[in-house]
């Protein structure tokens, strides 16, 4: 077996390269081209619309607080806990999200509804629901795992910069205060409450069998 060799010559610099002047002029040509194009766009107000043409030539600055590029519908932002009609969380504390979470950043303390509550026996609720947003990797597995559409990442908020770590530990009240990109705190998917005619009922007499 013979080894094949391929000779790669070191690129030789010509006198023109060495003198640097020509290359300098070429470089100036590139920067000047951009300078005049940018200036023309600024002066005539024809900066490209980055929403329609994200990769257009020319000035690519978004004036952030005033202009915001809309996030994609499936963009995963800070979590929220969706509400029921009465304002309580949809969450039934099944721990599916904390099981699915690869970063193990979700802590839920499930609790049983009090005696006399119509949901007692049917559902449980999260007494505590804590997400460590510093540990979260925003993979969205919790949203996928949720059987009740109770946790969503459609707030459109990205993680805020805060100046102490404790502020990133979001509790139930904080998570429930977030609003989805559709402007509501609910979910479009219907939810049957115990006692509704649509819900698997409450007493053995209810169904009329």
């Amino acid at each position: 077996m013979t080894a094949t060799t391929k000779v790669i010559r070191k690129p030789q610099r010509t006198m023109a390269d060495q003198s640097y002047v020509i290359e300098l002029v070429k470089g100036l040509g590139v920067t000047l081209k951009h300078f005049f194009k940018g200036t023309r766009q600024m002066v005539t107000g024809t900066t490209p619309d980055l929403e329609k043409h994200p990769y257009a030539d020319g000035i690519a600055t978004v004036q952030y607080p005033e202009e915001k590029r809309p996030y994609a519908q499936r963009w995963r932002g800070v979590h929220r806990l969706t509400h029921r009609d009465d304002g309580s969380p949809r969450c039934v504390a099944c721990l599916c999200c904390s099981t699915a979470c690869p970063a193990q950043c979700i802590y839920i303390k499930p609790a049983e509804y009090a005696e006399g509550d119509k949901r007692r026996g049917y559902e449980r609720y999260p007494e505590e629901f804590v997400i460590d947003e510093l540990r979260c990797i925003f993979c969205g597995f919790c949203v996928e795992a949720c059987p009740c559409d109770a946790i969503r990442m459609d707030t459109g908020y990205h993680m805020t910069a805060l100046d102490d770590r404790a502020s990133f530990i979001y509790d139930k009240a904080q998570l429930m205060s977030h609003v989805g990109q559709d402007g509501t705190q609910k979910s479009a998917n219907p939810r049957h409450e115990p006692g509704d005619p649509t819900h698997p009922g409450v007493t053995r007499l209810h169904g009329g069998h």
Binding site: V21, L24, G27, L28, V30, T31, L32, H34, F35, G38, T39, M42, D57, G58, I59, A60, T61, Q63
Partner: protein, 385 residues
């Protein structure tokens, strides 16, 4: 009368230069932004009622000025307090002083101002004469070299007195770089002196008005001088003295507030000064092609145009021409600053000593042969000013 004239001109020049520094700060930011497909500074605003005046980012320069004034004037412990405070002054003042000998317009003859639109040109100068320069020195450009050389002391002192290793390294780099390029810069102009047969900037402009621009007779010297002048300003690509990636901020690492502002504005003033020098020596000063002391004169290609202007118009056109030429060169310098990457220290030294210096010497030799070839041996006395 002489003192009033001098004072007015000094006030004018210093005022323009210092404000130019502030404006160049804006130009530099905005120009680089355009080059890099950005918008550049536009946030600072003066709020008048509900109106926010942003002036395309010019307010940032004002904000920077205010910031520098109000910033804590911190001084490093263990440094030499006196030298530490002196250094920025030494860095800024020579840059301003350089302009003293630079002519920025045609000489104003007070006597001719009276005949505004009916030019009756006297052949000789009579009455009060106001030269458009602060000082007319016999040593001319030699003064420029002398004063520019003093600038390095500021950088060196700043590096030394800051009691900081990075500052000291920056100061050392600045000293060696400026000393090296001073040599090439001086030698590159020798050829021009030989052709103009003068070291006075005014004479140089006059020679160029009668013959042609210096860049055509001294093209090599133009490149050499321009390169050296950029190196003298210690700006990219020659900014190893403040190379952020290696020595934090070089010799002004420890400077804050207005003292830092003096270094920064000193740099920008130097950009103006070196551009003005290039204009005077190589680009015909205030001179516009086909414009003579009397007005537009075009006698080529069978066309004879002779349009006489009032004296004040000639002076104003000259002033404007000079300013435009300087601004174009300043623009070019800023463009180069945002185009090229920083050279390595050894590359800078090699360029200065092994390339620019021999080429400058070669230029002197070629110029000498050229003069010999075209004019024959100069007659004794022709060299005397």
């Amino acid at each position: 009368m002489f003192w009033i004239q001098a004072f007015v001109k000094i006030a004018l020049i210093v005022g323009v230069l210092v404000n130019m520094a502030a404006i160049l700060l804006w130009v530099e930011r905005k120009q680089s932004a355009m080059m890099q497909d950005r918008i550049g500074p536009n946030r600072a605003a003066i709020v008048v009622g509900s109106v926010r005046i942003r002036a395309a980012g010019l307010i940032h320069s004002i904000a920077d000025g205010i910031k520098m004034i109000w910033k804590e004037d911190w001084e490093p412990t263990g440094g030499d307090k006196l030298l530490y405070r002196l250094a920025p002054i030494i860095a800024l003042v020579p840059a301003l002083c350089l302009f003293a000998v630079i002519p920025f317009g045609p000489t104003l003859h007070v006597a001719h101002l009276r005949d505004l639109w009916s030019p009756e040109w006297a052949t000789e100068t009579t009455g009060t004469v106001i030269p458009m320069r602060i000082a007319t020195l016999d040593v001319g450009l030699l003064y420029v070299f002398a004063v520019a050389g003093a600038g390095v002391i500021g950088a060196a002192l700043a590096g030394w007195s800051s009691n900081n290793k990075f500052s000291l390294l920056g100061g050392l780099r600045a000293s060696s770089q400026m000393v090296s390029y001073e040599v090439a810069m001086g030698l590159s102009l020798v050829g021009s002196f030989m052709i103009y047969q003068s070291v006075q900037p005014g004479d140089m402009v006059n020679w160029q008005m009668q013959h042609c621009w210096g860049i055509f007779v001294q093209p090599l010297a133009f490149i050499l001088f321009a390169t050296s002048a950029i190196a003298e300003t210690k700006r990219v690509p020659f900014d190893v003295p403040e190379g952020e990636s290696e020595v934090v901020a070089g010799y002004f690492t420890e400077y804050a507030g207005l003292k830092f502002g003096m270094f920064a504005s000193g740099e920008l003033v130097e950009v103006c000064t070196s551009s003005a020098l290039l204009v005077v020596v190589f680009l015909g000063g205030w001179q516009l092609p086909f414009v003579q002391n009397t007005g537009l004169e075009f006698h080529y290609l069978g066309i004879d145009v002779s349009w006489h202007w009032a004296h004040i118009v000639v002076v104003l056109v000259g002033l404007l021409t000079f300013i435009v030429k300087v601004l174009v060169l300043v623009f070019l310098q800023l463009q180069i600053r945002w185009t090229l990457p920083r050279f390595r220290y050894d590359q800078i030294m090699m360029l200065g000593w092994k390339i620019l210096l021999p080429l400058a010497l070669l230029n002197v030799l070629l110029t000498g042969f050229g003069i010999l070839f075209f004019n024959g041996l100069p007659t004794p006395g022709a060299m005397t000013p």
